[in-house]
C-alpha cells in the first residue's frame, strides 16, 4: 500500500461571491522511501495539495477527494488523535522561510523537545538530549549551545537545519519540503538540499519536494509531478520528463532552463564608459552596548570597489546576501552616499555634486527594484506612476506625459487600458513591467536592476529577461544587473563582477567566468548552481570562509605584471579577467 494516496483531490476557497477552485482532479501516489517532486509556479496548487494532506488549510478551504490517505489513515475522516499522529509522526514538514517558521519567544531546544514530547511520553531532559543529537545529525557543530539559542540568534541556513532536525524528531515516514531553500543563498541552498537527501536516506523516509525550481527537482527527486493552474500537467520519472517532456507547459518550463546567451549589440565605449565606480567604499558606524560601555565600531559594507559599466553592455554584480552588491548599486545611483570614491557618469564625477546639480544626471540613470509591490505607490494609477518621472523633470505637458506613459505600457507588453488600474490589480510580472516602464520613460543611459526577477516565477522571469534584453538593444542602455541567480546572469549579461564580503574577488567576461573561474569563492558559487539535468547530480564539498581564504590563488609577477604582495589584491590575468590573488616574486 502506498504511503500517500491522493485521488481526485479538489480544494476550493470560499470567497465573497462564491468559491474559487485552487486545485482540481489532482491524483498521485508516493510509496515508502520514494522521492517525488512537485514543480509549478505560485498559484499552481502545489503547496495547497500537500497542506490538504495534513489538513493544514485555513477554515475557508473546502477539501473533497475520492481518496486522501496518508499512512493508511483517511485524512478527511481523521479525528483529533489521528491528526496529531499524522502531523509530525507520519509526515513532517519543512517550510520556506526558516526565519518566520520558529516561534520567536522560545529557544530552539524548547521547540524541538516540545515536538518530541507531543508524540512520545518522555521527560523534558531526555527530550532535550535527543534534540541535541538531532542537531548534531543535521551538521550543527555547536549543538549544545544552539539548544539554548532563540531563533533570532541564528542565520537562515542554521535555522533551516534546525527545522530539519525538528522535522526528524519523530522519525516520520514522509518528509514534505515546501520550497525549503527559496529564501536562502545559492551556496546555502546546495548545502541544505544535500542535507535533505542525506537524512532522507539515513532515516529511510519518503520525500515530497515542492518547488518552483527545476534545478532543485533535478538534484533531489526520482519522480516529478508538474502542476499548472491547479491541475497536474504531467507526471513521470524525472529523467523522462526532463529529456522528453510531453506537455507544452513542461516544455516552456524546461526551455527557461536552457535559454541561450546572446552578447549585447552596439558599440561599447566611445569616449568614456556609461558608468564607472572608482574606489567606492561604504562603511557604517556601529554602536554596540556591552554592559555600560558603548563600543564604537566600523562596519565595512563595501571595501574599495572598482566597477566599469561600458556603453551598450550588461554587467552582472553577483554575490550572496550581505556581500555588498545592493549597497554598491545604490551608491552608483547616489541613493546611498559612498564613504569614499568617485562615481563617473559619462566621464563626469557625480560623487560630490549637490542635489540641484545632480538632477540632470538623475535623468540618465534609473533603477528597478526587487520587490515591485512596495516599489509602486498603491494610491496612484499605473499611468500616473509611469508618467511621474516626466513630471518631476518637467518634460512635456500633462497630456503628452500621459500619452507617453500609455505608449510605454505597450512597449513593456501591457495593454494601454491598464493605465487606469492600480498596482495591486496586477501580477508580480506585470508590476515589474510597470517598474521597468517607469525607469525607462526618461530614456536613461544607465539602468541599475537590483534583483528584478528574483521574486518572479520561472516562465515570467524568462519574459522579463527577454524584455530587458530587447529594450537594452532598442535604447542603447547600459545595465548593471545585480543578482544572486547565476543561471539568469549566464543568459543575460556580458560580463560578471563577483562580490564577496564587500570586496570584488573576480571579474571576467561571462563565458570565461563560467568556464574558467579562478577564485575559490567564484568556484564555490558556480559549483552550487543546481544541475539542469537529473543525470548530472552529484555530491558536493563545501568550503568554509577560512578554506576560501586559504585557497586564495597565487600568481607570479610575470603572469600579472603586478608588484609582489603578500596581501591579496586584484590582478589582471587575461584581458578583462581580474581576480583577487596573492602575487609572488
Amino acid at each position: 500500500m502506498p504511503l500517500v494516496e491522493i485521488e481526485g483531490l479538489r480544494v476550493s476557497f470560499r470567497q465573497y461571491g462564491g468559491k474559487v477552485d485552487a486545485v482540481r482532479h489532482v491524483s498521485f501516489r508516493v510509496s515508502e522511501g520514494e522521492s517525488v517532486g512537485i514543480v509549478g509556479e505560485s498559484g499552481s496548487g502545489k503547496s495547497v495539495s500537500c497542506s490538504a494532506l495534513l489538513r493544514l488549510l485555513p477554515a475557508t478551504a473546502e477539501v473533497e477527494a475520492t481518496t486522501l490517505r496518508l499512512d493508511g489513515v483517511d485524512v478527511l475522516k481523521a479525528n483529533k488523535e489521528d491528526l496529531a499522529r499524522l502531523r509530525g509522526r507520519s509526515a513532517a514538514m519543512i517550510f520556506q522561510d526558516p526565519m518566520t517558521a520558529f516561534d520567536p519567544v522560545f529557544t530552539i531546544g524548547h521547540q524541538i523537545a516540545e515536538t518530541i514530547r507531543a508524540h512520545r511520553k518522555v521527560g523534558k531532559r531526555e527530550a532535550l538530549a535527543e534534540a541535541e543529537q538531532l542537531l548534531l545529525r543535521v551538521e550543527i557543530k555547536n549543538a549544545a549551545d544552539v539548544l539554548g539559542y532563540y531563533p533570532h540568534q541564528l542565520s537562515g541556513g542554521m535555522l533551516q537545519r534546525a527545522m530539519i532536525a525538528m522535522a526528524l524528531s519523530c522519525r516520520p515516514k514522509l518528509l514534505i519540503a515546501d520550497e525549503p531553500t527559496t529564501a536562502l543563498d545559492v551556496t546555502i541552498q546546495a548545502q541544505i538540499l544535500q542535507l535533505i537527501k542525506r537524512v532522507q536516506a539515513e532515516f529511510g523516509m519518503a520525500l515530497i519536494m515542492i518547488t518552483h525550481d527545476l534545478g532543485v527537482i533535478a538534484e533531489t527527486v526520482d519522480r516529478v509531478v508538474v502542476m499548472y493552474g491547479g491541475e497536474i500537467m504531467e507526471e513521470g520519472a524525472v529523467t523522462d520528463v526532463f529529456e522528453a517532456p510531453k506537455n507544452d507547459y513542461t516544455k516552456t518550463l524546461l526551455a527557461s532552463l536552457h535559454s541561450r546567451f546572446e552578447p549585447s549589440k552596439g558599440a561599447p565605449d566611445t569616449v568614456a564608459p556609461a558608468l564607472e565606480l572608482r574606489g567606492v567604499a561604504k562603511s557604517y558606524h556601529t554602536r554596540r552596548r556591552s554592559g555600560f560601555r558603548v563600543v564604537q565600531g566600523e562596519f565595512q559594507a563595501v571595501q574599495t570597489v572598482d566597477v566599469v559599466l561600458p556603453r551598450n553592455r550588461i554587467v552582472a554584480l553577483v554575490g550572496e546576501s550581505g556581500s555588498g552588491k545592493t549597497t554598491t548599486g545604490l551608491m552608483a545611483m547616489r541613493l546611498t552616499e559612498p564613504s569614499r570614491g568617485q562615481i563617473l557618469v559619462d566621464g563626469t564625477d557625480i560623487s560630490q555634486l549637490d542635489p540641484a546639480a545632480l538632477i540632470p544626471f538623475r535623468r540618465r540613470m534609473q533603477i528597478v527594484f526587487q520587490n515591485s509591490y512596495s516599489a509602486l505607490d498603491p494610491m496612484m494609477t499605473l499611468a500616473q506612476i509611469i508618467a511621474e518621472p516626466l513630471h518631476i523633470h518637467g518634460l512635456g505637458t500633462p497630456r503628452e506625459q500621459t500619452e507617453k506613459a500609455l505608449n510605454w505600457l505597450e512597449r513593456v507588453g501591457l495593454p494601454r487600458n491598464f493605465g487606469n488600474r492600480y498596482a495591486h490589480e496586477l501580477s508580480g510580472g506585470q508590476r515589474q513591467r510597470v517598474a521597468i516602464a517607469r525607469a525607462l520613460i526618461l530614456e536613461p543611459t544607465v539602468l541599475v536592476a537590483d534583483e528584478p526577477t528574483s521574486a518572479l516565477d520561472v516562465t515570467v522571469k524568462a519574459q522579463i529577461i527577454n524584455l530587458l534584453k530587447q529594450l537594452q538593444a532598442e535604447l542603447g542602455l547600459s545595465i548593471l544587473f545585480i543578482s544572486h541567480d547565476l543561471s539568469t546572469v549566464k543568459s543575460l549579461t556580458d560580463s560578471v563582477v563577483v562580490m564577496y564580503r564587500g570586496r570584488v574577488v573576480e571579474e571576467a567576461p561571462t563565458e570565461r567566468l563560467f568556464a574558467e573561474p579562478q577564485h575559490p569563492y567564484t568556484r564555490a558559487l558556480l559549483d552550487a548552481i543546481p544541475a539542469t539535468n537529473p543525470r548530472e547530480k552529484r555530491l558536493r564539498t563545501f568550503l568554509s570562509a577560512d578554506e576560501i581564504k586559504a585557497r586564495t590563488p597565487r600568481y607570479t609577477v610575470i603572469q600579472t605584471g603586478s608588484a609582489p604582495n603578500a596581501a591579496p589584491q586584484l590582478v589582471t590575468i587575461a584581458p578583462g579577467h581580474r581576480v583577487e590573488a596573492i602575487v609572488t616574486p
Partner: protein
C-alpha cells in the same frame, strides 16, 4: 539585562526631573500668586515680608531646589483647601477610595477584556466576534458619566439591587467598579483581538500545527505568549490613569476620592496640592513605563538576549 534595567531607571529618573522642572516653571509663569491683592488685601510691606518668609523672593532655581528638597522628605506643605492636615495626609486619605475603585476596575476589566478579545479572535467572524466588537466599541464610545447614570438607573432605581451611591460600605463599591471596568475591558478586548489574530496569521503557527501540537497548546502557550508582548505595555499606564480616580465617576457615585481635587486645586489656586498631584501623577507614570519596559524585555528574547551571533 541588569545593565538594561539600570539604564532604563536612569533614563526614567531623568525624565521625572525634567518634567518636575517644567511643572515648576509652568506654575510660576501662570499669572497671579498666593498673596495677590484681591485675594489677600494686605500692605506692600506685609506682603514682602510674607514672600520672604515663604522663600518666594528667592531666585527660581533656589525655590525649585528648596521645594524638591522638601519633596525628597515627603514634605509637600499644607493644602490651602484643608489647612488642618498636610498634603501627604490629604492624598493618602483621598487616594484610598480611588485606588480601591479604579484599581479593582482595571484588575477586573483587563482580564475580562483579554478573555473577550481571545474569544473574538479564535471565533473570528462569528456572533461571538461581532458581540465582542460591539461591546468594545460601546465601552470606548459611551462616556463614563452616561455609563454611570445608566448603571444607577438600572441597578439602583429599577431593580433596586444596589445602593445608588456613597462610601464606604463594600456593596456601594460595585457600581463604580463596574463603571471603571468598562474602558479597560473595551481597550483590552480590542488590543487582544488584534494581537491574537496577528499572531495566528504568522507562519510559525502553521509549523506548530504541522508538528502535531494540540490546538489548545498552540493557543495557550505559543499564541498567548507572543500576543502578550504588545499587551503588557498598555497595562500599567492604564492602571495609573484609572486608579487615580475620575472626577466624573466619583461625583456621580459621591465617592470621597482623589478625582475631585485635580479640578478644585486648580480652581482655588491650591498651589501645594496642585504641585503635589502633578508630581505624583508624573512619578506614577514614570514608574509604570519603567516596569512596562522591563516586563516587555523579559517577555521578548530579542531584547532580553540581544543580537545575533
Amino acid at each position: 539585562m541588569t545593565a538594561h534595567i539600570i539604564r532604563r531607571i536612569l533614563s526614567v529618573a531623568f525624565t521625572f526631573i525634567v518634567v518636575s522642572i517644567i511643572i515648576f516653571l509652568m506654575m510660576h509663569s501662570v499669572p497671579g500668586g498666593p498673596f495677590d491683592a484681591n485675594d489677600m488685601p494686605v500692605s506692600e510691606a506685609v506682603r514682602a515680608k510674607m514672600m520672604a518668609q515663604w522663600g518666594l523672593d528667592q531666585p527660581l532655581h533656589v525655590q525649585y531646589f528648596n521645594y524638591m528638597w522638601g519633596v525628597l522628605h515627603l514634605d509637600f506643605g499644607v493644602p490651602f483647601q484643608s489647612p488642618g492636615e498636610t498634603v501627604v495626609e490629604l492624598i493618602s486619605r483621598a487616594w484610598v477610595p480611588s485606588l480601591i475603585l479604579g484599581g479593582s476596575g482595571v484588575l477586573i476589566g483587563a482580564p475580562l477584556g483579554i478573555l473577550l478579545g481571545m474569544a473574538a479572535a479564535l471565533n473570528r467572524n462569528t456572533w461571538i466576534d461581532y458581540l465582542a466588537s460591539t461591546l468594545a466599541t460601546l465601552g470606548l464610545t459611551i462616556p463614563v458619566f452616561v455609563t454611570s447614570m445608566l448603571l444607577i438607573l438600572i441597578f439602583a432605581v429599577w431593580l433596586n439591587w444596589l445602593p445608588a451611591s456613597g462610601w464606604p460600605q463594600p456593596n456601594r463599591w460595585i457600581l463604580p467598579i463596574a463603571c471603571y471596568a468598562a474602558i479597560p475591558l473595551a481597550t483590552y478586548a480590542r488590543y487582544t483581538r488584534s494581537a491574537v489574530l496577528d499572531t495566528l496569521n504568522r507562519p510559525f503557527v502553521t509549523v506548530l500545527r504541522a508538528k502535531g501540537l494540540s490546538e489548545r497548546r498552540i493557543v495557550f502557550q505559543h499564541v498567548m505568549r507572543n500576543s502578550a508582548i504588545p499587551l503588557v505595555t498598555v497595562f500599567l499606564p492604564m492602571f495609573i490613569g484609572t486608579a487615580t480616580g475620575s472626577i466624573f465617576v466619583e461625583a456621580m457615585f459621591r465617592v470621597p476620592g482623589l478625582g475631585a481635587y485635580f479640578v478644585s486645586s486648580i480652581e482655588v489656586r491650591d498651589y501645594t496640592l496642585q504641585m503635589a498631584l502633578m508630581l505624583l501623577i508624573t512619578f506614577m507614570y514614570c514608574l509604570a513605563y519603567l516596569l512596562s519596559d522591563i516586563a516587555y524585555a523579559l517577555l521578548n528574547p530579542r531584547i532580553r538576549v540581544g543580537g545575533a551571533e
